[in-house]
Amino acid sequence: MNAINKLLTSAAIGLAVGVTSFSAIAETPANMLVIANRIDDVTTVDPAESFEFAGSDISRNVYNRLVNLDPMDLAAGYQPDLAESWEVSEDGKTITFTMREGVKFHSGNPVRAEDAAFSLQRAVILNKTPAFILTQFGFTPENVAETIKADGNKLMITTDKKYATSFVLNCLTATIGGIVDKEVVMANEADGDMGNTWLKTNSAGSGPYKLDGWKPNESVTLSSNPEYYGGAPAMERVIVRHVTESASQRLLLERGDIDIARNLNPEDVAGASSTDGVKIEDELKGRLMYLALNQKHPVLSKPEVRQAFKYLIDYEGMRDSFLKGQYTIHQNFLPATYLGASEENPFSYNIEKAKELLAAAGVENLEVEIGVREAQERIEIGQSFQNAAAQAGIKVNITVGTAKQILARYRARELDVYLGAWGPDYPDPQTNAGTFAYNPDNSDEANATGLLAWRTGWDAGGLTEKVEAAVTEGDREKRVQMYLDIQKEFREISPFVMMFQQIEQSALRDNVMNWSTGQAVTSAAYWQVTK
C-alpha cells in the first residue's frame, strides 16, 4: 500500500471515528494481555538460535538468565536472576555464580547450575547466528567443558582473557543467555542436535511464561507460570496476534479487541492518540540510521569532506516531517539508554559551513553514488540528502536496490556512500563500538565484512586500541568515560554520519500499566504488566 493510500485510509478512519462513536466497545479479560504485532520475523524460539525482535520478545518472557534487566528499571543495568550472586577471580578471568535456590522449570525440574552450564555450552556448540555473543570470550566447542562448568550450586565461566565484568554480564542478559531445562531438552534430542529442532517450536524454561503455541505469521500464545520465583504474573495469558496492517491494528485497539498495538504508522498514531481510552507511549529503540562514506574514495577520505557531509543532513527537517514520531536525532554510535551513550549532537544542517569545508579541501564538481535499500524512510532520507548536497555543489546519484544488491556492494567496499540502519546485538556498548570504531586490519585481504569500519574502508587508527581497552576496564565509571571519549573522537574524525535513533510508539488501552518494549537494550516484557 503506498503512502497516499495509507494517508487516505487513516483520514477516512479518523473522519468516521470523529463523526461516529463506536458501537459497544469490547474489552479483553482483566487477566489477559492481547498484543497486535508483526511477528513474521520469528524463525525459531530456541534461545541458542533466536536473533530476531519478535523471537527475542518470546524468549525474554519464557527463559530466565543468570542475570537480567528489570523492565521497571532498565537504567539500573543487569540484576541477579537465576544467579543470586557472583564473584570475580583475582585475574579477572573467572566469574563464579551462585545459583538461586528453589527455582523450578516449567516441567517441575529444579533449576541447577548444571542446567546453566549446559545451556551456555549448548549455545557455543550449536554455533548458531548469535553464538558470537558468547564465543567472543574465547569459548569454543572444544573448550566449553572446561571453560563453562558447574560444581554443585556454583557455575564457573572462564574467559580467554580479562574482560570488563560488566561486558560479560551484559552479554549474558542477551537472548542467548536463556537457561534451558537440560533434562527436557535432551529428552527431545534428535540426531545429536541437542534438542535444537524441538526447541525451535517448544519451550523448556523457568520464566514467568511458558509457550503454549507459536503459529508462524499467525499468533504466539503464552500462559503464566504460577510457580515463577518472582511471583505469578498478573496477566495469566498473553496472546500476540500477527496483524501487519497499521489500520487494522488501530481498529482492533479502538474496538477494545486488543490491549496494545505495536506497529501503528505516524498517521494512525496521531489518530489513535485522540481516541478515548487509548494512550501512546514512546520508547527509544536501538536502531540507528547512518551514512557511511567509503574511505577508498580519494575525495571522501579527506577529513574536511567527512566533516562537510555531517553538515549536509537536514536533521530537524526530517525528524519533524516524514520521520516524525519514529526517529529522533542521534549523532553517536551508541544508542541512547546504552551504558556510556553520549547525548551530544553537535552537528546541524549548515550548507554554508559544508561549502567552506569542501572549499578548504579543494573539492569541486564532486559526484558520488549513494546506495539505498528499498525502504520508504531510507529513500526519503536519501532524497533529502541529495537535495542538500546539490546546494553544496555535490551531485548525488541514488541507487535503490534490494538488500542483496546494495548490501553486497557495501560489504565489497564498492559503494561511495551507503545509507544504512544498524541495531545492537547485545546490551553492552562493545556491540556497536566493536563494529563502528574497531578495525584492526583494514586490508582487502582481511575481508572483515562483519565490521562496519572495514566495510567503509576506514582504518580506525587509535580508536581500535581504545575500544580494546574499554572492554577490559573493570571499573564501570571509568568504562563509561572511555566510551564517551571514544564517541567524541569518533564524531569528529569518522567517515560515519550518524543521524537518527528509532523510537517505538506503542498504542495502549489506557488501563494497561507498566508496559515495556525493552528500550534499546532488551526486548518486551509482559510479567510486570497490569490492567
Binding site: T9, R241, S248, R255, D425
Partner: protein, 357 residues
C-alpha cells in the same frame, strides 16, 4: 467344423476388452502426462526465477552482519554452489518423494505449513465464490433480459465498482463500518481471542471443525469473522461473473432459436432459463472455475487487511524473505489447484454438453 462355424456366427459381436480399456487408459495417461508436464514447467520456471531474483536466501538466514565465513558455510549448505540444473534436479527428486523440504527460515516442513494455511484460504474462497455465483449469475441474467432497464444499470454500477475499487480500500472501509462502527462482524483474524485453539483442528476449516466438535459458539464467532472478507472477495467474483453472464446471455437471447421459441408461445421463464441459460452453462463453468481458482490462489491484500493466515500471504511473506522452499511448495499447490479445476471443468463440460463426450 460346421458346428464351429455356426457357433461363431451366433456369438455376439463384442469389441475386445483391450479396445474398451485402451481409450480410457489413453485419456487417463494423457491427462496425467499433461499434469506432470505442466507441473514440471511450473516448478522449473518458479525455481529459476527464485534463483535469479535479487533476493539472497543466505543473507535471509545469517543476517546482514554475519562474517564472510558464516555466509560461505550457509551458502554451501544450501547447495547454491552447484549448477542451477543440478540444484533443480535435487529439488525435483525430493518433490517426487513428496518432500517439499523445510522452510529456510522457520525450519518447519513446508508441507506442514501449507496444510495449515491452505484450509484458511479454501474456507474463505469457497464462501466467497458461493456468494459471487449465487448473486452474480441471477444478476447477470436479469441484466441481459432487462437490457437497458434500471436492473441493468444497477448491475453495471455494481460491476464497475467491483472492477475499479482497490480491494484494500474496500476491505478497510468494510472493516471500519461493519466492525469498527456497527460492530456487526468480527474483526481481523479467523476467530476472536476467546476462541483461539478452542476446537481441535481436524480439517483445518474452522467452520467445519467447530461443527464437528459441536461447538456452536466457535462456529458463530468464526462465521462472524469470515463473513466480511468472504463477502468482499465474493463481491469481486460477483462483478466478474455477472458481467460475463450478461454478455453470454445477450448473445443467446439474440439467437434465432430464441425468437422461434417465443413465436411458438413458450413462456419467458422457459425461454430464458430452459433454453438461453442452458446454453451458457459451459461458458459459465469456465468463468466460475477461473474465478474460484483466483480466490484459492489467495488474495494477498485481503489476507493482509483481515490478518487471515492463508496461502497468499504465506507465499508473499516467503518470497520477501527469500524462503524459496516455501515459495516453491506454495506454487506447486496453486498450480495443482488450477490444473484440478481445469479437469473438473472439462468433466462438467461433458455433463452439460453431449457434444463434448
Amino acid at each position: 467344423m460346421a458346428l464351429t462355424e455356426d457357433n461363431n456366427q451366433r456369438r455376439p459381436t463384442r469389441a475386445p476388452l483391450t479396445d474398451q480399456v485402451w481409450p480410457f487408459l489413453r485419456t487417463t495417461l494423457l491427462t496425467l502426462g499433461s499434469i506432470a508436464v505442466t507441473l514440471l514447467g511450473l516448478l522449473f520456471i518458479t525455481f529459476v526465477i527464485g534463483r535469479v531474483m535479487p533476493i539472497d536466501p543466505v543473507l535471509a538466514i545469517v543476517g546482514e552482519r554475519a562474517s564472510q565465513e558464516t555466509y560461505d558455510t550457509v551458502y554451501l549448505q544450501l547447495g547454491l554452489d552447484k549448477p542451477l540444473m543440478v540444484q533443480f534436479f535435487y529439488y525435483l527428486w525430493d518433490v517426487l518423494h513428496l518432500d517439499f523440504g523445510t522452510s529456510l527460515l522457520n525450519a518447519r516442513p513446508v508441507s506442514e505449513d501449507i496444510a495449515r494455511v491452505f484450509p484458511a484460504t479454501l474456507e474463505l474462497a469457497t464462501i466467497g465464490i458461493i456468494f459471487g455465483v449465487v448473486l452474480g449469475v441471477p444478476l447477470g441474467v436479469l441484466a441481459a433480459v432487462r437490457k437497458g432497464s434500471w436492473i441493468d444499470q444497477i448491475a453495471r454500477v455494481v460491476a464497475l465498482v467491483g472492477y475499479s475499487m482497490p480491494i484494500f480500500w474496500l476491505g478497510l472501509m468494510g472493516l471500519l463500518v461493519f466492525y469498527g462502527i456497527l460492530g456487526w462482524v468480527g474483526g481481523p483474524g479467523r476467530v476472536g481471542i476467546f476462541y483461539v485453539d478452542v476446537v481441535p483442528s481436524v480439517t483445518g476449516l474452522i467452520l467445519v471443525d467447530s461443527l464437528l466438535d459441536g461447538n456452536w459458539d466457535v462456529f458463530k464467532d468464526a462465521f462472524s469473522h469470515i463473513i466480511l472478507p468472504a463477502s468482499l472477495l465474493g463481491y469481486y467474483s460477483l462483478a466478474y461473473v455477472s458481467r460475463m453472464t450478461r454478455s453470454f446471455m445477450l448473445e443467446q437471447l439474440s439467437a434465432e432459436y430464441i425468437t422461434t421459441a417465443r413465436v411458438k408461445g413458450m413462456s419467458e421463464w422457459d425461454v430464458v432459463w430452459k433454453h438461453a441459460f442452458k446454453n451458457i452453462r459451459v461458458q459459465l463453468i469456465t468463468v466460475i472455475a477461473l474465478s474460484y481458482a483466483n480466490l484459492l490462489e489467495g488474495s494477498v491484500l485481503t489476507e493482509i487487511i483481515f490478518s487471515w493466515p492463508g496461502i497468499g500471504s504465506y507465499i508473499t511473506t516467503a518470497l520477501l524473505s527469500a524462503d524459496m522452499n516455501a515459495v516453491l511448495g506454495g506454487t506447486v499447490v496453486v498450480g495443482l489447484i488450477f490444473i484440478l479445476l481445469n479437469i473438473f471443468s472439462d468433466l462438467l463440460y461433458k455433463v452439460f454438453d453431449p457434444r463434448a463426450k
